[in-house]
């Protein structure tokens, strides 16, 4: 008997009724698959924009070049893109709203589905066949009950849900069903894993920490404390007490390239590896290696080797007074030249040096260095340009590796090799020695295991959601009153993957008839 039809509640009127009706209508709209598809489409569109338009968090330089009109479609379009937030799609309010709508739609979709699924798992029984199919039956000499008992055994052994009708309920048969929970259940697990991922990502944003710091080989390193990082990006709930406090020094750094210019892949790096000494707060110091793909984990902090450069030790003396004596870190540009700067505000007026370091610049026949783009330091030379005036430190935003020359005047330029010095007017410049520095990233991401778990759930749900198929199989056996033999029907239907079911049905038929 069919269950009673649920009657629709009376239409509510008045202002409260209007609100309730609107919410109900909105909810119904959210539950629809079309809505989910529309939201997925918008997500795809926004992602497409983020693929085509440079994103500020990834390539700030390119975005600025677009806005300045040096690259891209021109300033008018770039301003429009900026206005709609296309340069930072994933940080935009629109994206957050879309994400919220997607999860709302997902939730609206899932609640009735989970209820239906639980009902299905708890109450569902294979439906009974009322009629035999209009097919040619298999004819056997066994008793119908023997055939049906074997069918039940075979189907149970193959993990089917099996039902035998009560006497008189339906014609003698074995009704079976399979794939009832797994397909829908897998789909539910797949969709629920997005909540795990979302929670892990949001919690991760709050609890994470990421800091970067350069270390010169053989020189004192740094400790894991708030003050020692060059760039420091803590999550909102990460406090300075959460630092582990260990100390890291760079003992040695190895880098090499394919140096033969005729070999395939000439100039490509072949090795990039640091040997570091770590001193925990309490515990024995130890040495370890950090290389590409091989980060070091200390006290739950992951240490990556991100970049490297040359670090010349430069001494600047003005009127016999040392105004700068330190390593400067140079960074390789796209052209392969290592650039850095010396800023000495202690002199009066300020002294600034723009430094370009060429690692391999052997002397030519005329004694002048021949500059090459090769990165190995077999014949290093720096090309310096000396500036005097006002460095404008603190007045303008500037990079460590670049001078702001707007208030400076050039005093001339020249070459300098390690161990050499040069004097221009009252300024003596000395290139003492050349070392290298390595940029380390220290990160703390407690969300990683949760993300992995969420991803595992996602895949674990996806496979049955796409591969399990729900199918029903019936076996009937009746005695033919004319011949006295038994007529057996094995029939069924598959809700998905009918072609796989055809094979399965043939196999089950052979097993039921004991012909396998």
């Amino acid at each position: 008997m069919n269950p009673a039809v649920r009657r629709r509640a009376a239409r509510r009127s008045g202002p409260i009724g209007f609100v309730i009706e609107s919410v109900v209508m909105g909810w119904r709209w959210l539950v629809r698959m079309r809505t989910a598809l529309l939201l997925l489409g918008i997500l795809a569109l926004m992602t497409a924009v983020a693929t085509a338009v440079p994103q500020y968090p990834n390539v700030p330089g390119t975005v600025e070049a677009w806005l300045a009109g040096d690259q891209g479609p021109g300033t008018t379009v770039s301003q429009a893109l900026l206005w709609i937030g296309a340069f930072d799609v994933y940080g935009s309010t629109l994206f957050l709203m879309l994400l919220f709508a997607l999860f709302l739609s997902l939730t609206a979709c899932l609640i009735p589905r989970i209820r239906a699924w639980l009902r299905l798992v708890r109450w569902s029984q294979p439906p009974l066949a009322r009629h035999r199919p209009d097919e040619v039956p298999d004819v056997v000499d066994e008793d119908p009950d023997v055939v049906l008992d074997r069918a039940e055994r075979v189907l149970r052994a193959a993990h089917w849900r099996v039902r035998r009708p009560e006497a008189g309920e339906a014609p003698p048969q074995v009704a079976a069903e399979r794939g009832l929970w797994s397909r829908e259940g897998g789909s539910l697990v797949f969709h629920l894993s997005f909540y795990v991922l979302l929670i892990a990502i949001v919690a991760g944003q709050l609890l994470t920490f990421e800091g970067q710091r350069g270390v010169i080989e053989g020189e004192p390193g740094f400790a894991d404390t708030e003050m020692s990082y060059w760039s420091y990006r803590p999550g909102r709930w990460f406090t300075s007490d959460d630092h582990a406090g260990w100390r890291l020094d760079l003992e040695a750094f190895t880098v090499d390239w394919i140096r033969d210019p005729t070999a395939p892949g000439a100039g490509q790096p072949t090795e990039f590896r640091s040997r570091v000494a770590v001193t925990p707060v309490d515990g024995e110091p130890f040495t370890a290696e950090v290389a590409g793909n091989e980060p070091l984990v200390v006290d739950g902090r992951k240490i990556h080797q991100l970049d490297w450069g040359y670090a010349p030790y430069l001494e600047v003396v003005v009127d016999g007074e040392v105004v700068h004596a330190a390593f400067i870190t140079t960074v390789a540009g796209d052209d392969g030249i290592f650039r850095g700067a010396v800023k000495a505000p202690a002199a009066e007026p300020d002294v600034g040096l723009a430094v370009e370091l060429y690692p391999y610049a052997p002397d030519g026949d005329d004694g002048i260095p021949r500059l090459t783009g090769a990165p190995w330091a077999d014949a290093p030379v720096i090309v310096y340009e000396q500036w005097r005036g006002d460095l404008q430190l603190g007045a303008t935003q500037q990079l460590v590796t670049e001078l702001d020359t707007t208030a400076l005047t050039s005093q001339g330029w020249g070459f300098l090799r390690p161990g050499q010095d040069v004097t221009i007017d009252d300024v003596t410049l000395r290139f003492v020695e050349l070392k290298r520095w390595v940029g380390f990233q220290v990160s703390h991401r407690p969300q990683i295991p949760w993300l992995l778990g969420g991803s595992a759930l996602l895949v674990a749900g996806l496979i049955p959601a796409l591969y399990a198929s729900r199918r029903r199989l019936w076996v009937t056996a009746v005695r033919d009153p004319e011949t006295g033999r038994t007529l057996v029907h094995v029939f069924g239907r598959a809700f998905q993957r009918p072609e796989a079911f055809a094979v399965e049905r043939a196999r089950m038929r052979a097993a039921v008839l004991d012909r396998s």
């Binding site: 990834n58 991401r445 895949v459």
Partner: protein, 385 residues
């Protein structure tokens, strides 16, 4: 020795494998047209099927030999630049497509289309050709074969799914047109209205052979149901949504235009060939099922491969996801194919709209694959040019 191997691998790739794939494709497609008809025709078709199968096996053999010699010549797995990825994508598409059709679905008559796809992909790889060379050390880790091979496999199978979706749309268009014409003018006659003119053209020698006349007319009607001009223009425009990348990235305008037009015109030719074969392809239900099964399988691989990529990124770059152009592209492809799978499960959208979403998802995959390597420089740029 090593340069000899490199030269050998090049010869194995072009012309050997490309030629074998196309030869196998055309022989098998010819066999498909011979699968219906009179007894002597069917015998010829059977012969063509065997020859085509042999050519296909030979093509796969030389392709595998090419990958091996290239791998030995450069002392690493050939998975490092776009040429190698595209070539492997073709190999996976051909091997997976042929195996699936032949042994699982028992629809070996469609093998010709898969080989046509393989030939086109291999020819396309030639536009991205790079000499064998060593690998960046940062890529030299077991993560790379794990992550890249999963995604390349998924790409190859997505490509096969694209072929089935395209055939589905062609067949569906043809059938709808014939059905529409029937109900409109001839009221249930087996010969469509669109074919009445074609009937006049049929050789008089065939008269008297009623079944045959009907078959030929029906085929002509199916073909006429897909307007050739619109198909050609549509394919050209559709291919341009991806091939424009070569206009902006080529070293000079002439070679950019040459690449652009060779891709587009090759696809237009393939589309017109498929139109001519539309009477011989199986029913829309079968084609839709084939597309869905292949895409569902590749979707799982794509998901696992992308997760593996995030795990590698956390290990190598110190962040698991950074919306790098390639990551964004992988995510976009994933969303597009998720859209296809959802669309196909939705009443009112499944069928033609879902198939169009599937076509769009493939365009998205190929587009992001090229754009992230040629147009936008990111951490994943490894075009090797």
């Amino acid at each position: 020795m090593v340069t000899d191997l490199a030269a050998l691998s090049r010869v194995l790739y072009s012309p050997t494998t490309i030629a074998l794939y196309f030869a196998a494709a055309f022989t098998l497609l010819y066999a498909l047209t011979m699968s219906v008809g009179r007894h002597d025709q069917q015998r010829r078709g059977e012969l063509a099927r065997r020859v085509g199968g042999g050519l296909a096996v030979a093509g796969i053999t030389t392709h595998v030999a090419h990958e091996i010699t290239r791998g030995i010549a450069q002392q690493r797995l050939p998975l490092g630049n776009m040429f190698e990825v595209t070539s492997l994508m073709a190999l996976v598409g051909v091997v997976a497509g042929l195996s699936y059709l032949t042994w699982i679905r028992r629809r070996g008559d469609l093998n010709g289309f898969v080989l046509l796809l393989g030939g086109l992909l291999m020819a396309f790889a030639g536009l991205l050709y790079a000499e064998p060379g060593p690998l960046m050390p940062i890529l030299d880790t077991w993560w790379r074969p794990f992550h890249v091979s999963l995604l390349v496999t998924a790409m190859g199978i997505f490509a096969a799914g694209f072929v089935f979706n395209a055939l589905f749309l062609l067949r569906d268009t043809a059938e709808l047109s014939v059905a529409g014409a029937r109900t409109a003018t001839t009221r249930g006659s087996t010969v469509g209205a669109a074919s009445i003119e074609d009937l006049d053209d049929i050789d008089a020698a065939l008269e008297g052979d009623d079944d045959r006349v009907h078959d030929v007319a029906y085929r002509a009607a199916l073909r006429a149901g897909v307007p050739a001009g619109r198909l050609a223009v549509g394919t050209f425009v559709g291919a341009s949504t991806v091939s424009w990348v070569f206009l902006t990235s080529a070293p000079d305008t002439a070679s950019g235009l040459a690449r652009f037009f060779s891709i587009n015109l090759a696809l237009v030719a393939a589309a017109l060939l498929a139109r001519w074969l539309v009477p011989f392809v199986p029913s829309t239900v079968t084609l839709d099922g084939l597309a869905h099964r292949t895409i569902a399988f590749a979707f799982i691989l794509w998901t696992v491969g992308t997760i593996a990529g995030a795990m590698w990124a956390e290990q190598s770059w110190g962040r698991f996801w950074g919306w790098d152009p390639k990551e964004t592209g992988a995510f976009l492809t994933w969303v597009a194919y998720a859209g296809y799978l959802h669309a196909r499960a939705t009443r009112g959208i499944k069928g033609r709209p879902a198939a169009w979403i599937g076509i769009g998802a493939f365009v998205v995959m190929m587009g992001t694959y090229l754009i992230a390597n040629y147009v936008i420089v990111g951490l994943h740029s490894y075009a090797g040019l």
